[in-house]
Amino acid sequence: MKKLSITFLLLLFIVASHSRPVSYPGGWTVMQTNELGNHNLHIHYSPSAKYSIGYRGELMDQSDIKFHTFQFNRLVKRWNKPQEQANFYWKSGIGVFTSNATNNNQFGVFTGFAADWETRRYFTSYENRYFYLNNKHKEFTQKARIGIAPYIGNYGDLHTWLMLQVENTPQNPDNFVVTPLLRFFKGPVMIETGYSDNDEFLFNFIYRL
């Protein structure tokens, strides 16, 4: 029943990622995320408002894989409405993957899409990623979020969101993980913090230059 409800949530909120992977022309973004045993650093530069290029370094605790990749993010479509916005992104990367188990370097790739819809009060997002290193190491993950702002702040205020994230990694023993989290942002800084139902901390930090 729990799985059914979560699947329903995933299907219902087929939308947005927690951080926009494309910025304004000439903009740099630094993202550092730690969630569910994955630690990653993504630094990207947006030559235009339509795409960004950057570096992603990631450490996956569970599969003991580290990788350094070149990542390309594309804003496929944006819908701007008077009090709402929705986005659809395509993200992909190619790079070198290392595993302590095999102790060798291999080329690997990943790809996925992210979508979001938000108003000033409500937020929903969905993103997925298919990661392929070799036949032994391939992984599909997807996550969805819903959020609500307890108060509506204006430009320059401290903004607060209450969010619920559901992550599904079919090949993991805990294939559904639910994480309630708080998101704060003010100016160019965004911070998210949460604690999952499998006892993992979530801490994400984003800075826009």
Partner: protein
């Protein structure tokens, strides 16, 4: 015949000079710093769609701050407005303003005079 040719030549030259003067004037008007509001050239309020996220709207500040004509911008999320103030005797035309806002990821709906607090 010769007089007719001279008259024709003078007419063509006059038309050419007149034409190029008018076109230069028209070009100057198009390229001049007009925000579309003669009674309020120093400020404009731009009604924008998609203005829902403070963190994302920072892009507007960054994009506009690169223009030397712009003194300051203020984003009003409640009204969906971008309020642009220009430096003394400077302005940006609506085409440039639209381009800057589109580059920031938003859509322009309308331009309003910026001297009243629209």
């Amino acid at each position: 015949m010769k007089q007719f040719k001279t008259k024709t030549l003078i007419s063509i030259c006059t038309m050419f000079i007149l034409g190029s003067t008018l076109s230069n004037h028209a070009f100057a008007a198009k390229g001049s710093p007009e925000n579309g509001f003669n009674n309020c050239p120093q400020a404009v309020n731009v009604q924008v769609n998609g203005l829902v996220c403070d963190f994302c709207a920072r892009a507007l500040e960054k994009v506009f701050s690169k223009k030397e004509e712009v003194q300051s911008i203020k984003v009003d999320l409640d009204k969906g407005l971008v309020k642009v103030k220009f430096n003394q005797d400077q302005s940006l035309n609506q085409t440039v303003l639209t381009e800057l806002i589109t580059d920031s990821g938003y859509n322009v709906v309308d331009f309003l005079p910026g001297c009243s607090d629209g």
